[in-house]
Amino acid sequence: MITSIFKEHKGFGKQIFLLAKNELIKTYKGAVIGPGWAVVKPAFTVFVYWFAFSVGIKTMKTMHVNLGSHDPFSIDFFTFMFIGIIPWFFIQDSIIQGAKTLRTNRQFITKVKFPVSTILTYTAISRLYVHIMLMVLMYAYVIFAIGPSWYNLQFFFYCPLMFMFFLALSWSTAPMSAFSKDFESLIVSIMSGIFWLSGIMYDSYSFQEPLKFIMLLNPINFFANGYRNCFLYHRPFFYYKTELAVFLAEFIFVFALGIFNYNRLRKKLPDVL
């Protein structure tokens, strides 16, 4: 029972990558700049936020981040926001598309026998491709603006973890959204709120207790801060142990809940889609 998701993936690896590639083609075919659109939208979003906060509101030019040591860490707002928002684009797509994905791929559920959980995997991989593309652009900026560091390699810790976390989350949200469109709408409607509740545009460490601790409960902060650990703060992922521990606990919870929900609803999916 517990292993059903893993069993469905067994021997299907090559097909998953092929289907992921086709998912990308499906998204971007027929457009002149094709996959360029995957960059245009985030780039414009970054520009708008920078314009609104640094040019419009004016007060947000330099960020002072409290990293627990003597002096606050100071950095210009654009760099701070840019590094945090790149994982956010992936997270946002993962949550919204992840919830919708079974409904949009219903032909694989109601018509043929198909390892249903792999649908979530290949769509997630196609989003990962886009994320890597954005990462390459961001890293070009990082090298130019901050310079490379060994800590950058921690990307290979945070990125797979982020992929797994939101994949496991979709094991819960996708079958539930397939079951009830209201659940899907609920997720879509809270997403822009989630953005402002997460430390993307501001520093989630800068609060007093207990709010500082509450901010740790938001896993999105873990990744926004994590990417900043890699590229901006240059500190190891285990530096802030409470943050890491809270996240890992949540990860185990989401993982277990995902397996539970998937198994609970998998066999009902063909009846409701």
Binding site: N22, V112, F179, D182, P270
Partner: protein, 248 residues
């Protein structure tokens, strides 16, 4: 008799009919209280042996599709157990289940993997499938560019060429123009005479009689009669005649 290839043990399936979307949302978290239900299959048990051809007859809504969906592994029972020993090929919805952006050739592999076939084996049957589907150069084009007839041909070709252990056929199947239809019929006959287990669903008594020595008659989700096709059809037709008389 040889070993059973399909076994249904007290299989029941109930569809829950949600009153509205609100009830559906609620059902995500709580078990619905006295929901309206539709019992599609009710305590169905039978065994089908290797090499048998079995007809399934019954009116619309008798549970035929649900039964077939369970054999093909698309739907699942609420109660009971289903054991299927072998590859199932279904000639039901031939145009479904393709990945539209993939080429015809890639879809052959996708389908093969889903059925648990090895690379080497798929390679072996690939050419046969392409030839049978009469797709020519289109085989390396994305399936979304196919006409519906081409999709059906490909779907049919894949299903009949994987050397299935069980072939599920819906008689109402349409596969395009007359000449291809002819070809399909011949192929099905060839598969049957090769000793493949066949499940044949039809409203047409004659074609069931022609293909299947044994038949199962379903009415409202229950097996009414299971046995010799002539006897089964007699029970079915008697019931139908009785219904007609009642109406009069």
């Amino acid at each position: 008799m040889s070993e059973a290839i399909i076994t249904f043990k007290n299989v029941s399936k109930t569809y829950i009919l949600y009153k509205n979307d609100q009830a559906r949302f609620k059902a995500l978290f709580f078990k619905p209280r006295n929901p309206k239900t539709n019992k599609a299959l009710n305590d169905v048990s039978f065994e089908i042996y290797r090499g048998e051809s079995v007809g399934i007859v019954g009116d619309n809504g008798a549970g035929k599709s649900t039964l077939l969906k369970m054999i093909t592994g698309v739907a699942f029972p609420d109660e009971g157990e289903i054991i299927v020993n072998g590859k199932v090929a279904a000639l039901l919805e031939l145009t479904a289940g393709f990945s539209m952006e993939m080429t015809g050739r890639e879809n052959i592999y996708l389908k093969g993997y889903i059925l648990g076939l090895e690379d080497a084996y798929i390679k072996q049957i690939e050419e046969r499938i392409i030839e049978f589907a009469e797709l020519g150069d289109y085989i390396d084009q994305p399936v979304r560019t196919y006409s519906s007839g081409m999709k059906m041909r490909l779907g049919f070709a894949i299903n009949v060429n994987i050397e299935p252990d069980v072939l599920v056929v819906d008689e109402a199947l349409s596969v395009g123009d007359a000449s291809f239809k002819r070809k399909c019929k011949d192929k099905i006959k060839e598969i049957i005479s090769a000793g493949t287990t066949v499940l044949y669903v039809s409203h047409n008594a004659e074609s069931v009689r022609e293909i299947c020595p044994r038949s199962i008659y379903l009415r409202k989700g229950t097996v009414i009669f299971d046995g010799n096709t002539d006897e089964t059809l007699k029970v079915y037709q008697d019931y139908k005649a009785a219904q007609k008389n009642k109406k009069k």
